[in-house]
Each structure stands twice: as structure tokens, then as C-alpha cells.
């Protein structure tokens, strides 16, 4: 040892050996760098696996997916895209954790120590990027758990590998972005800000062209996947989107490496960056391609004319017409229908058989669907789609037959409570058909103030004081056996006198107001079933009488009906007559409250 000044020199060593001081135990093999990367990546992956934040993200992501699919029909072509929404939430937490990990050394004042290691910042960054594989189990758990739930609810269709892979790539891209942020910024809020940006980007498109929706990391709203009768290739463009996410992940990785590496290998990084950007651009262009005309023609035809695409099965004088792939619904449709019809002898049923038919709604124009096609073509599709039975409310001239019950695609719920509700809904529709309550009546509207002739319109009719209405409701009750608490009506809210005027729904029939729809039955808040036709408006009187009938022994009511179906199917037979025949008092119903401007509704007289 020596000093420039101020002290005596120290004895030195005789020779300097360049290999001197090599420490034992260190990997000197040619694969040392790879071994180090793998070792560090394993640690980083384990940190991700054990991260409570990522566990929270997984749970939150699962909750988001559940909220998105719980009341929807388990259609895989919709569900797999919704899983991606959960992956967005998971990706947010992965981004935060990755940013924290990448900035760990600086945030913990360990930069100098890390700089003294033979492992460079570039190698550490490569390891952290590789360590993102630790987020894969959480992503797969989300997919697996959702798959289990969806399959248990009777899934329709099969999941798209491209969509599911895209969700996984989204998580990895979010993590890579977090690492890129962390190599530059050590403040923990930077990751949080990145996560918020990721969340905001999952909303509606703010790009000038609508198909730009798919360019966002994960578009979660504004599509019609949940009501399509089947998967539509290119909607969303899953493969190209997965490619875009892979490109984004690669680009973020390149940015992270470029930030971490202070020198060397810039040419390789530049090349990788160019390839990543080119991949993103290519994927973007692919996603903006219009959906082929032939595919949209096929979709619109399926929607406008369901019969052209459906297969029908007849069982117990009921035709069930379903889109391809929906055959698994058949048992759950047959059960409530058959249970109703079992109480109505064939001689008492209408001559026309009942048809239960799926319908699909398509809302056009929707530029995410029809972008790139001429306006004239889109208008034609719009007009064609409007002829769909599902869109009939917007086209009163399109009167569906009264012997058809429609099942909008996407609204037939899955197993569990909602399915029981839908069963009641279908049973009620089948019972209304069985007792021949017409769904609507043609009525005349007076000439408009500006002059011109009177117009014929289709309105839902009211089975005012008709015994067959109570019978229909009773049939639905005994066919599906809803729980005692499932049927709540006016009495559950203290009777009519306890109901606020604003709660009352009443229709004006002739000169009197008839309380309707003031009772809640299973499925009354859903649209699992529509029909027959518009469906009659149930009256409070009919509901109360049906409940009273349900409290009687089933055999007693059945015997009365068997002995006199012709009488009870006659619309002139009143509620009071039915009550008297059963020996029960007629429930009293408030006469109704006057509400200004209430339109006049027709009575069901057929």
C-alpha cells in the first residue's frame, strides 16, 4: 500500500496474477448468463405468484367476470371476451407489481449495491420480463374458474383459443409495461397511474373510426356478442388482437431493456423494437379490416329469418326451433312447457301447435360490425334485421303469430335461480297459449291532429275479468312450483291502498282503469321469454285469484278444469264465477287510480 504523500509506503506484491482473486462457487460456464437469468426469473416469478396484490387482482378480476356473465346466457363467444375484462383487472395489478419490482433497487436505495454485481441491469431486466410468467397461473386460474362456472351452467359453443390467449397476453403486456415504467420511474404511483390508464382504455373507443375499438388493449363495452346466435369470425378480430398484444408486450420489453442497458446491443434492441412496432401496426391493420360481406349477409339472414338457420324438434305437440349449437337448451325448455301441457288435455288446446323459437336481435347500424361497407349496404342490412321477430317492437306491422313463444338469444339464463325464473316465464307463456288468451288485438287510433286517416296498431290486450287468465297463472305456478317468496304481489306491499300512485301500473279499458303488472313473479324482471306475441297484460285480479287457487289442493282445481274446459276457456267466464266454482272468496281489488293521459287498451276478446 502506498500513498501519494504523507506516509510511508507499504510492501507490495511481487507479481499481479490476472486470474487472482477468483471466487469459488460462481458459475463460469458459457451458459452462466442464462443460468443467472433463469435463477432471477424464478425468484421474480415466485414473488408474483405470492403477491397479495395480484391475488387481490385475481379476485377482483373474477368478480368482474362474474358480474359480466352472471345474468347472461353462457355463450362462449361472449364469455371468452368477458374473461378478458377480468384479465384487464388482473393485468392492472400485475402492472403495478411489475413496476414496483423493476424499480426495487432504486426505491430501496440499493442502486450502488446492484451496480457492484456482475449481473448487469440488462440481465436483471431480461429476468424480470421472463419472471412475468409468474402471472400466468393467476391468469389461467381466472380462465379455469370461469370455464368451470360456465360449463356448469350449460355452456353454449366452445371458447376461442385466440381470445383466451389474448387475455393472457394482455396480462403479460401489462406486466412488461410495468417493467418498462419501473426501469425509468421508481415512484410507486407511476405503476398505479399506468394501471388506471389500462383500465380507462378498456372502455368505449374514442378513436375517430369505430373499429378502432378493437385497437384498445381490451374493449369491454359496445359490442353485441351477447345476443348473436353464434360466433362471427372477425367480431372481435381475436387473432389479430392477440398479435397486437404480443407486439405491445414485446415493445414494452424492448423499451425496458433499452432503458436499463446503458451501453451495447443497441442495434439488436433497435431491430427488435422495429419488429415489435411493425407487428403492432400489422395487427392494427388486420383488426380494421371489414368483416366479409358474406359473413354479415349470413348473420343478418339468421337474425331476420331465424327459421332459415334453425333446426326444429317437435315433442308433445310443441315445436322447439333453435339455432345450431343451442340443442343443449332443449331439456330446460321442454320441462316447464310439458309440465303445463300435462294439465291441459289435447282436446282443450288450440288447434295450432305451440312453437318455441329462438330469436336474435341485431342493432344496426353498428359500425364495429359494418365498418368498411357502403352505407347503402348497411341500410339494407338494417332493414333486413328489423324484420327479426326480436325487433318487432320497433315494427308494429310485423305481427308475430300468437302461437309462438320467442326466446331472445342471450336472455335464456343459466342454471340456478335465474333459470327457475325463466322456467316460470316460459310456463306462463305456454299456459296463456293453452288457455287461448290472445296476445294482442288490432285497434284503431284516432286521426292525428294534423289530419289524415285513422291508423291500425297492434296493442297488448287486457284479459279483463276473464277466468282463463287466473287459470293460466295457476298452471304456471303448479308446473314450476316457485318458492313461496318468489311470488309477491300487491299484498306483499300492504295491498293496493299501501301502494303509491307512482308505483301503480294501470291500463285504461273502456272507461275504467285496471291495475296490471303490479305483481312480481319469477322472471317478471327478465326477458327470458317474450310472447306469445306481445303477451297479454296480466291483471292484479287474475294474479290474486291464481294465488288463492294455488293454495287449494291441486286435484280439486284440476278436477274442476277437467270437467269444464270449454266453459273456462270462454273469455266470457269471469273471475267471480271461477272463484265461486272453487268455493273461495273473490279477492278484492282496488278499482284503479286515475292517471291522466293513460291510453285506452283493448280487451282480449278472442
Amino acid at each position: 500500500m502506498t500513498a501519494a504523500a504523507g506516509g510511508p509506503a507499504l510492501p507490495g506484491v511481487d507479481t499481479v496474477d490476472p486470474t487472482a482473486g477468483q471466487s469459488p462457487g460462481r458459475d463460469r460456464s458459457p451458459t452462466a448468463g442464462l443460468q443467472t437469468v433463469m435463477g432471477l426469473a424464478r425468484v421474480e416469478a415466485l414473488l408474483l405468484v405470492r403477491s397479495l396484490l395480484i391475488l387481490a387482482g385475481l379476485l377482483a378480476g373474477g368478480a368482474v367476470v362474474w358480474l359480466a356473465i352472471r345474468s347472461a346466457e353462457p355463450l362462449w363467444w361472449n364469455v371468452d371476451w368477458r374473461i378478458g375484462l377480468g384479465q384487464v383487472v388482473l393485468g392492472m395489478t400485475v402492472l403495478v407489481v411489475a413496476q414496483l419490482a423493476a424499480s426495487r433497487a432504486r426505491r430501496n436505495a440499493m442502486t450502488d449495491l446492484y451496480a457492484s454485481f456482475p449481473t448487469t441491469a440488462g440481465i436483471r431486466t431480461v429476468a424480470q420480463l421472463a419472471g412475468l410468467l409468474g402471472a400466468v397461473p393467476a391468469s389461467l386460474v381466472l380462465v379455469g374458474a370461469t370455464t368451470a362456472v360456465v360449463q356448469s351452467r350449460g355452456a353454449i359453443g366452445t371458447p376461442s383459443f385466440a381470445v383466451l390467449a389474448g387475455g393472457l397476453l394482455l396480462v403479460l403486456a401489462a406486466g412488461a409495461a410495468g417493467i418498462a415504467m419501473g426501469t425509468k420511474f421508481s415512484h410507486p404511483l407511476v405503476g398505479t397511474l399506468g394501471a388506471v390508464l389500462l383500465f380507462l382504455s378498456s372502455g368505449n373507443s374514442h378513436l375517430p373510426w369505430a373499429a378502432g375499438l378493437w385497437l384498445y388493449p381490451w374493449a369491454s363495452f359496445g359490442d353485441q356478442l351477447g345476443s348473436l346466435p353464434g360466433p362471427l369470425a372477425g367480431y372481435p378480430p381475436a387473432g389479430a388482437h392477440a398479435l397486437e398484444l404480443a407486439g405491445l408486450a414485446a415493445f414494452a420489453g424492448v423499451v425496458a431493456l433499452a432503458t436499463a442497458m446503458t451501453r451495447g446491443r443497441t442495434r439488436g434492441l433497435l431491430a427488435a423494437g422495429i419488429i415489435a412496432v411493425a407487428t403492432i401496426c400489422l395487427a392494427g391493420a388486420l383488426q380494421l379490416r371489414p368483416i366479409p360481406t358474406a359473413d354479415l349477409n349470413h348473420l343478418v339472414t339468421e337474425v331476420a329469418d331465424p327459421g332459415s338457420a334453425q333446426r326444429c324438434t317437435t315433442a308433445s305437440q310443441v315445436r322447439y326451433c333453435l339455432y345450431p349449437g343451442f340443442g343443449s337448451l332443449l331439456p330446460s325448455l321442454k320441462a316447464p312447457t310439458n309440465a303445463v301441457l300435462a294439465h291441459v288435455p289435447a282436446r282443450a288446446r288450440p288447434a295450432d301447435s305451440l312453437t318455441v323459437r329462438q330469436v336474435a336481435g341485431l342493432s344496426l347500424p353498428d359500425s364495429t360490425l359494418t365498418h368498411g361497407h357502403p352505407d347503402r349496404q348497411v341500410s339494407q342490412w338494417d332493414a333486413q334485421a328489423n324484420r327479426s321477430p326480436a325487433n318487432r317492437t320497433s315494427n308494429s306491422a310485423n305481427v308475430p303469430p300468437a302461437s309462438t313463444v320467442y326466446l331472445p338469444v342471450g336472455s335464456w339464463p343459466a342454471a340456478g335461480g335465474p333459470l327457475a325464473d325463466a322456467h316460470f316465464d316460459l310456463a306462463l307463456a305456454a299456459a296463456e297459449w293453452a288457455v287461448r288468451i290472445p296476445s294482442q288485438a288490432i285497434d284503431s287510433l284516432p286521426p292525428q291532429a294534423s289530419g289524415g286517416p285513422s291508423r291500425k296498431v297492434t296493442l297488448a290486450c287486457v284479459p279483463l275479468d276473464q277466468a282463463r287468465e287466473a287459470i293460466a297463472i295457476w298452471l304456471a305456478i303448479i308446473a314450476t312450483h316457485p318458492s313461496a317468496g318468489a311470488l309477491t304481489g300487491v299484498e306483499g306491499r300492504g295491498g293496493l291502498t299501501g301502494v303509491k300512485v307512482s308505483d301503480l301500473v294501470a291500463v285504461k279499458v273502456g272507461s275504467s282503469l285496471v291495475p296490471t303488472d303490479i305483481w312480481a313473479y319469477p322472471g317478471s324482471n327478465t326477458t327470458a321469454v317474450t310472447g306469445p306475441g306481445h303477451g297479454p297484460q296480466a291483471t292484479v285480479a287474475g294474479y290474486l285469484l291464481a294465488k288463492a287457487m294455488a293454495s287449494l289442493p291441486e286435484q280439486k282445481v284440476a278436477r274442476l278444469l277437467t270437467d269444464g274446459w270449454p266453459r273456462w276457456l270462454n273469455w266470457h267466464s269471469t273471475d267471480a264465477e271461477l272463484a265461486a266454482a272453487l268455493g273461495i272468496p273473490m279477492p278484492s281489488v282496488h278499482a284503479g287510480l286515475s292517471q291522466p293521459g293513460t291510453p285506452v287498451e283493448p280487451v282480449c276478446t278472442a
Partner: protein, 292 residues
Amino acid sequence: MDEMTANVSTAAVRADGLSRRYGATRALGGVDLGLERGITGLLGPNGAGKTTLLSILATVNEPDTGNVSVFGLDPRDAAERVEIRRRLGYLPQELGYHRHFTVAGFLGYVAILKEITDRRRRAEEVAKVLAAVGLEARARTRIRALSGGMRQRLGIAQALLGQPALLILDEPTAGLDPEQRLRFRELLSELPGNPVIVLSTHQADDIAAICPQVVVLLQGQVRFAGTPAELAAAAAGHVWTAAERHPSAHVSWRGGDGRWRHIGDSPPAGAEPVAPTVEDGYLLLSHAAGTR
């Protein structure tokens, strides 16, 4: 000077004319240094450039001018810099920790960063350094739960990983209690392989106890290099005790026995000269350099 240059040029670790500025502040001003195998203590007041010098030797920092050679390797060359780091154990002065790591987890992580990739070998290394610093029982404890002294021992442990040939410890005894300091001295003196060890400290008694060599760095320059005995001897005839404080003394303090200990140019009449210590020599040098 020729002898000194020759010694520097053949030392295991050497620095030639190192200078480093941080803006207008000169941290190092032409430091020549040669380090041999064994323990070298680096003494100096705050701001003397100790940490800058050590960080340059650890290849963490680069000098503005001057050269460094470690075992004949030049840190300016990327490949040779990595080779130096493969031989290095470094404890920075201010070291944070990944507080959510366990003690063993952190050491395992650092071991990988030191390219100890074989799992079994890594586990052995971790166990060995944990035992060396007396933290075996805390292997599974989260770092956030450790006391300040335990964290310092953990910092020493990570520096020891891989049996480094060059061990650079910047104030390693800060935060250690007397017993731990004794154990630390024992640990350093028993390290296998006869590594080059540089430790900076404010504790002159640590230097006296374990360092065969000592370097005093003042105002960015080496003011002394030699043995602790030589440093103490530099103050011979300049240290005395007296019943009263003497105004001409450069440094004075009252001892536990109530008598004043003085360091100055020469003892006044009636004063009782005493044998100087390493600390006396260091204080005298500091005064001469105008840092006190």
C-alpha cells in the same frame, strides 16, 4: 516517491491519480493507492472522499481522471469490469433493503446476482454467511422485522457471499453494538483465502484492533498510509494530559478520570506526556490538514 510508485504498480488493487468532482465539489483530488491482501482501514472525516473512493474501487463509480486496476483488471473495459465484480463483495455506506424479503430470500437473491446459480451451492453459501454474522435464527424473518444492527449484519453477510477476493466495506460497524463489533473484527480476521479487505470507519479502535494497514484520507487526498502503529507514532510527543485545559492544544477533551487529554505541537511545562494512540495520530493529521 519512486518506492511508493513501485509499490502501487504491483499492488493487488491500485489506484493512480484518481480524481472525482461532483459539480463544484472536489471529492477526490489525485489519489494514488495500493492495496495488498489483508485488511486496510480507511480513516477520514465526513466528506473526505472515502465513500467516493470505495465506490470507484467497487466499479460502481467512475473517476474523472486516473486509473484503477483490480487484480490486473481494468474496470473501464466492460468485460474486465464484470470480472472484477465477480471477485467483489461490497457493502455501501447507505444500504436500503427489500424489506418484504426474508433474510435468507434476500441473500439467495443476491447470490444469484453474484452468479452463484447452483441451488445447492447457493444454499450452502447463504447458510455459511448467515452463520458468520450470527443471523441463522433469523433466516426466515422478514427484513422489515430486523433491528438496525441486524440489518447491518445482513449487509455484511451479502458482501461475504461468494467468498470475494476483494471486500469493500463502507462503515460496516455503524449500528453494531460493542459485542457485535468484536464479533465482526473476529469475522474479518478469520476470512479464508486472504482477501483484500478495505473498510472505512470512524472507529479508530476498530482500525487499531484489526487492520494491519491504515490509510487516512483528508480533503480528497491520501494523507497517510502505513500501519496503525506508524499512525500512532506520528503523534509521539504531541499528546499529553493535564489537570486543566490548555489553550494552545489543537484538540482537547476530558477523560473519564477527570484529566484533560491534549494534542498539540508540544506539551507545555508540567504536562504529562502520554503514549499516543491511532486516534491521536489521526486527529493530529486532521488538524494539520486543516479539517478540524
